[in-house]
Amino acid sequence: MTQKNDSTWRLQCTVNGDPIDADVAQDETLLFFLRDRLGLTGTKGSCLEGECGSCTVIVDDKPINSCLVLCPQMQNRNIETIEGLAHGDKLHVLQEKFLASGAAQCGYCTPGLIMSAKALLEANPNPSEQEFFEGMEGNICRCTGYAAICEAIKSAAREWK
């Protein structure tokens, strides 16, 4: 049984491959669990209504808004956050290309953009313009004007393995 008492849930899932076993409140969102309980502050919160995409993480290979998920719903799910991408000093190709293209200004939207891009390219390494747009349209950047972001993701796609 995973229900502990009236409003606490024993959550078992994985985050970036690590097993998690934690007591969570039934109305706690994944966003704040990741940030405040696990210290994974790469995932950002902004609008808290699914409009901006800055809280995007990947759950069982699909991008989701971590601000709109209640922790108990993540039972037995596999969650990937921006912290899971680099291996030590070796950056993920998306991170490298964001750097090379100057795709970040304030950087607040960057983790969400990279997680959406990763989910898109994992599912479809060679997206058409339409598929690219549909895959990235849930993420908003208020600084860059998007050109450098698109360039970064497209150049990562060319090297996608």
Binding site: Q3, D27, T29, E49, I64, N65, L68, E137, G138
Partner: protein, 270 residues
């Protein structure tokens, strides 16, 4: 208490037992938004995201069957133009992966894009109870008022069905294209027998059909004059309001434009 049933029977039993004291939740795209805005949290949740076969989409005997947990991502892939296009415009991929058709019906917002598309195809909504069993309602009887529906507090929305051979057209006007709430959206369906359904979102307290406009087309067919008369009629039948997204006048004018445009599209077989 957080309930996470593994199958539909368990889910229905919990709902029958707790009724209005339990809040069904799937993608959370309405409920958790409200919680994030400091709404009073429900005492009990009924999480439907772990129900086996809860998101099945299949076609049998000429009908589409959508289990309640079918997501907008799934609906976006259907060869049903209005519903697929509506699904692709409810939000970005993360929202489409989370939001479900039962959630769209359950919230019953006048801006429920999926509801508008279903209304244009005479869909049937299946409501289920643990012991009383299933009942199926025509979708136009399902919506009863502003965010009010025929769903009883001890039932769950378990499926939607509609004939697969409707031809449909869709257009949504929103401030940021996709990933935004509609200012006006319109779906028009044409049955294999040539019956026309004209449905709108965001122009009344509930998603609605403009039946007089439908009657004009039923009478005269898709002639230029009938399309023009239907567009005029649609503008008179809707009851939009001014709000922060748009003015009532603009919404009303767009109802005429969209009626004209989508009826012409259907006539041309687009």
């Amino acid at each position: 208490m957080f309930h996470q049933p593994r199958n539909l029977d368990e889910a229905l039993a919990i709902r029958a037992n707790l009724g209005a004291d339990v809040t069904p939740i799937a993608g959370g795209t309405d409920i958790v938004v409200a919680l994030n805005r400091q709404a009073k949290p429900p005492r009990n949740f009924l999480d439907l995201t772990h129900v086996a076969d809860g998101s099945t989409v299949r076609r049998d005997n000429g009908k589409w069957f959508l289990a309640g947990g079918a997501t907008f991502t799934q609906l976006g892939k259907l060869p049903v133009k209005a519903l697929a296009q509506a699904a692709m415009t409810v939000g970005g991929p993360a929202i489409r992966n989370a939001g479900t058709i039962a959630g769209n019906l359950g919230t019953a917002s006048p801006a429920g894009d999926g509801c508008v598309a279903l209304l244009a195809m005479d869909a049937q909504v299946e409501l289920s109870h643990a012991t009383r069993g299933k009942r199926s309602l025509p979708i136009h009887e399902y919506f009863t008022g502003f965010r009010k529906t025929a769903l009883l507090a001890d039932e769950l929305i378990t499926a939607v069905r509609f004939d697969a051979d409707w031809k449909t057209a869709w257009y949504k006007i929103g401030k940021r294209g996709s990933i935004n709430i509609s200012i006006v959206c319109c779906a028009i369906g044409m049955s294999p027998r040539g019956e026309i359904r004209i449905a709108f979102g965001c122009v009344a307290p509930i998603v609605m059909r403009t039946r007089q406009a439908e009657a004009i087309i039923a009478e005269d067919g898709l002639t230029d004059a009938a399309i023009e008369a239907a567009a005029q009629s649609a503008m008179n039948e809707v009851a939009p309001i001014d709000d922060h997204r748009s003015s009532a006048n603009y919404r009303r004018a767009m109802c005429g434009v969209l009626t004209r445009r989508l009826l012409r599209d259907l006539r041309q077989g687009n």
